[in-house]
Symmetry: C2
Subunit: 336 residues, 2 copies
Amino acid sequence: MALHELHLIEYIAKQAASTCDSSVIMGIGDDCAVLQLNQDKELLVTTDTLIEAIHFDLAYFDSFSLGRKAAAVNLSDIAAMGGTPRWAFLNLAVRPGLSKDFLSTFLTGLFAELRPLGVQLVGGDTVSSLKELSITLTLLGEANRHCHLTRREARPGDLIYCSGTLGDAACGLYWLQAQKMQKKRLNMPQNLHFAAKKAIKRHLTPIPRLALGKALAEDRLANACIDSSDGLATDLAHICSQSGVMAQLDAKAIPISRASRLLCRALRLSPLKTALTGGEDFELIWTTPPQNEGQMRRTAAAILGHTPYKIGRILQGKGVWIAGKDISYHGFEHIF
Amino acid sequence: MALHELHLIEYIAKQAASTCDSSVIMGIGDDCAVLQLNQDKELLVTTDTLIEAIHFDLAYFDSFSLGRKAAAVNLSDIAAMGGTPRWAFLNLAVRPGLSKDFLSTFLTGLFAELRPLGVQLVGGDTVSSLKELSITLTLLGEANRHCHLTRREARPGDLIYCSGTLGDAACGLYWLQAQKMQKKRLNMPQNLHFAAKKAIKRHLTPIPRLALGKALAEDRLANACIDSSDGLATDLAHICSQSGVMAQLDAKAIPISRASRLLCRALRLSPLKTALTGGEDFELIWTTPPQNEGQMRRTAAAILGHTPYKIGRILQGKGVWIAGKDISYHGFEHIF
């Protein structure tokens, strides 16, 4: 253990201590964290690794947003299962050249996301790397027994819904990349400027749909659920293959924001294709049996502040179909 | 998600499925793993990241041993808390140039360590990296309620014990590094050859002391415990600082193997200094009140096959002292 690692651990431990309640029998500073789970609960565990130059580019990712995003992508997995996040573990591999300030702002961003949800940082590992910053966050959450959403329960007849517009985060990413290649902020009219700002925000600081996931699970309003991390074509393909069903999407119903349309035109991209294949929107995609549709729509609208989007239907068969074409697994790759 | 990632996940999922029992409500293949914990149990969580060229060098680490070691270093943390390991999560960041064969042998090594213990691989994340292989394993385990060992309960008067010889893994590492620098196997007499083989094995495939840790915890035979991952001087310093006590080590009692003495002589190193500061032996270091010493020695000897080593005593004060010198936190850095 290098000495600066020890300091970093101490710093993290100090920041984390203020988030801990009595469920944490032992937090940072021992060989393991020791946690007390209520009975009648199931434990949910998710873990995501973000690698520099693969999942984020420090040319345009500020460390505060990076901290928020590391938390958000994991929180989104808990949301997709309908659970409540409880404890977090942070593994950081820090390469030379990253300042103390960078790391502390990263942590501030992480806590900005975790603290309002009552998620406690209780462990992890801090190591040196030579060339790449790598961030692994592991989240433990809980769900009531037999009350979590999976990818494998979609049934023919189910309606496919999603919680927000798709493709925005990808547009934000493409815009940032275009800016970087030109080594300057792109000159653009005011409306494009606002659109870019919105889309970039979707890429940098996605919002995990925790309240919605929980409501869908606890009120039994969804059969299957996933979060849109790898793009609709891929994420929905997971539901279809694991449930043994087919998804029929309605091209006209795919929700695309005005911002996304504007940016796609400027970038010469198809807005629909971007919505189908662009990743990291972290919206929920779920299937609901028709008899639950009314209640589900009311519940979701109350949480989201807008009606959720009906984008298609589950049928017997396999694949993810739109306009006569199977687009399963088309899409997003986390490689720049 | 790149397509080869998808294949790797499927491969891992297939390998992992055979290890899963009814505690795993949902394993690999959804947003989170869903686990069923018994009541009256505490949950232990530990996670370790190993980075290429920092924690391991593929010049001499074969992928099978690397898989075993990734498991062992985490299992050792569960051992140090006196727990039983249950579920594992593997995060792999795979750089270009690593073959399918390398990865599958790595997994075989990982399972060779996990499967005999009944530990089930139930989740993780598989991503691409550009430059470094990075491995994060997260282990969940359990302990009976109020029955885990910590670093913070050492008391003045306690005797300090360890489960095996110290410095061997460091000798193995130094030997491997010396061989690599000379770009060949070192010529050496037969006894040195055997010594090097033994020490290298200690570095490549350490043995987590799970049965011992569990016995110390459940029979309440230890006050504090840690595993020797960063070297005695550092690991014992953690116990001392967290317990608010001082450790007085007996230089003559530090257990050093014959192999380690031979190699240290050849490498012109001090065997004692290597034992005090060399990391990654993954022996347990614990403190026992004098009244429990007899029973502890019998229990430990029955498990280890040899009597554990008494290496010092806990006193009032602070620091880790040997021969009039405070050696707290001296030692091992995971940087080549």
